[in-house]
Symmetry: C2
DNA sequence: TAGAGTTAGTTAAACGTTTAACTTAAATCT
DNA sequence: AGATTTAAGTTAAACGTTTAACTAACTCTA
């Protein structure tokens, strides 16, 4: 049987309360007894029982991670990386993270994830878009929530966000710096704050570069930013403006689709048109040519979310909701080049 | 505050023991009181406290899922799918699954995953290869273990496996049926039972087809089955035998690498050579041409593992270790064709 | 009809922590 | 020196379940 706090107490010659206080490194304990107890803990290889602790503190030590199921059907393991980041982020803590997927179109008929119904989590992280219906039901529960790469416009939530505006700016600026003037933007799901912000960055950089924004250079009506939609968007874009010499795709999936379109239509990248994506997914370097993109530190988004929710759980009172912005980085590969 | 078993007992007019027995649907309870209690549970929206239960039963309700970290750096989300399958598999159960990654070269200096050290799991699932060092340390712990897509040759473990031999057979038979005679095999990490078995299937099907096995048609010395290694293996293969008309790659990643090699060297697929992979990853359908492959039901591997470990946990005594074989399926796309 | 057996439910202890309230001894103050 | 404060640790109750042992009410059986 595993040793309990009693065994430690006996071995160290103190009461179990003292052991408990040492574990929480409470100020009341002298360093002398502290070391004594710690020694006993080491020697017995003691680990406190989570159940017993949970019973009295009414905590579970778990954090729920929620994702819409469609993300796992995608080729690009974007949110998977983020999830992995959360797992890594818990290493210094006493938390475990529990994953659950919900339907992309979660609605009133759907059940909440089991760990929520059973109150098996102390807080939850929602990555990517979730339906309003879902968010509203979760909010009623009075459980700490942190969003990643999304925030509902219905309130002021804790969120960790990609610096999409700046990403949009540096991506576009890169093209401008290369001498391009007719710079297209292709995007999908423009109502998603991330896509919207990338588009904003695009417009800002254009303006800073003295280039007038032109609606004809934009295709933003695709339903979501997937490869096939990137293909379609590229087709539409060239139909709207034949003189395009550079394209900024709102993410790498669409960029890959656009690249496919170009290949199919004898448009050489980067000779005829430069192409830049956003996200930096693994597939990028296997493309022909390897894709220039904006690197999103996916892993970090996860670790930041853990730190944030930890704080939110600790200070329930801490109500000045706040957003954490994770910086992005330009990765120049071979799909962009100077305009001749 | 959440309702407790006491609230339910009071509402139903029974003792808390009765409520507990109803929850476990113990035979001692009449249907009358059972329904009475269940009604109270529903009305109060009662959910038993996992901590309290865990404290007395010495269980945690968690299952650990262990994966070497390199899998998450790969483009193909193979094990991610399996993990997701386990999550799905727990829906009918009372388990949660906790993910942890370990180093690919885990050795004596490395720490075991936290949930193991803290005894926060009732059983663990190990997906893919793990070092002998890791497995040995885990075994000492006397905790139920189930392997997925791997098994150490040091013993007789519970495992859920892909039917790799049959997969190798049907893949090769497909090529044989198309009239190919000079059929290459490219593989990496041949010491991995999955790769080894696919190779066995290849040889068996060759024999059944009346084709003599030829070492010159095989490249099996790549370190692991990745895209770049697929590229290299294809190069070696053609260097060994120019007359190859079909290739069976041990997985899709290598097939994709091989396809790249062919493209770079003006070898047309499927006109000049037919190519078949193994796994059926998302990327396959975006390839040019889309890849014929053997579909591995990744999701199912996960759900099967959950069912298996559930049983192992339940019947600790059940020691006739057993293997579950998950069937595979031939998916014909455009990378294979009849030999002219 | 008494006694034994069976059935359906109850009682109470136990699980391993945390923490408010308490104790004791030492330090500080007047 | 005696009273008061402070410091460091202890005591004991509480958290919400499970389950062995018990009880009371029936049902048989001879």
């Amino acid at each position: 049987m595993s040793p309990t706090i009693k065994d430690v107490a006996k071995k160290a010659g103190v009461s179990i309360a003292t052991v408990s206080l040492v574990i929480q490194n409470h100020a009341r304990i002298t360093t002398a007894t502290k070391t004594k107890v710690q020694k006993a803990i080491k020697e017995l290889n003691y680990h406190p029982s989570r159940s017993a602790k949970g019973l009295v503190t009414k905590t579970t030590g778990n954090i729920g991670f929620i994702l819409t199921d469609d993300h796992f059907l995608q080729t690009e393991p974007f949110y998977t990386k983020i999830f992995l980041g959360t797992e890594f982020g818990t290493r210094g803590t006493n938390y475990y993270v529990l994953l659950a997927t919900i339907a992309r179109d979660f609605n009133s008929k759907d059940e909440l994830p089991r760990f929520i119904l059973e109150r098996s989590v102390d807080g939850i992280i929602i990555a990517g878009k979730a339906t309003q219906d879902f968010i509203e039901r979760i909010e009623l529960l009075d459980i700490p929530i942190v969003f990643i790469d999304y925030y509902p416009n219905s309130g002021n939530f804790f969120t960790v966000l990609i610096d999409n505006i700046n990403g949009g700016i540096i991506a576009t600026k890169h093209l401008v710096d290369l001498g391009h003037k007719e710079i297209g933007f292709i995007g999908g799901d423009i109502s998603h704050p991330s896509i919207y912000d990338r588009f904003s960055g695009y417009k800002q950089a254009l303006e800073s570069g003295g280039i007038k924004f032109n609606k004809k250079n934009c295709v933003i009506d695709e339903e979501d930013p997937s490869r096939p939609n990137g293909y379609n968007a590229a087709k539409k874009l060239f139909a709207q403006n034949k003189k395009i010499t550079a394209i900024f795709a709102c993410n790498d999936a669409m960029a890959i689709g656009a690249m496919q379109y170009c290949t199919d239509n004898k448009i050489k990248i980067p000779n005829d048109v430069s192409l830049i994506g956003f996200d930096d997914v693994e597939a990028d370097i296997f493309l022909n040519p390897p894709l220039t993109t904006i690197k999103v530190p996916k892993f970090e988004l996860g670790t930041e979310a853990i730190h944030l929710i930890e704080n939110v759980i600790k200070n329930k009172s801490y109500h000045n909701k706040k957003k954490i912005l994770v910086p992005v980085e330009l990765i120049i590969r071979n799909s962009t080049r100077e305009l001749k």
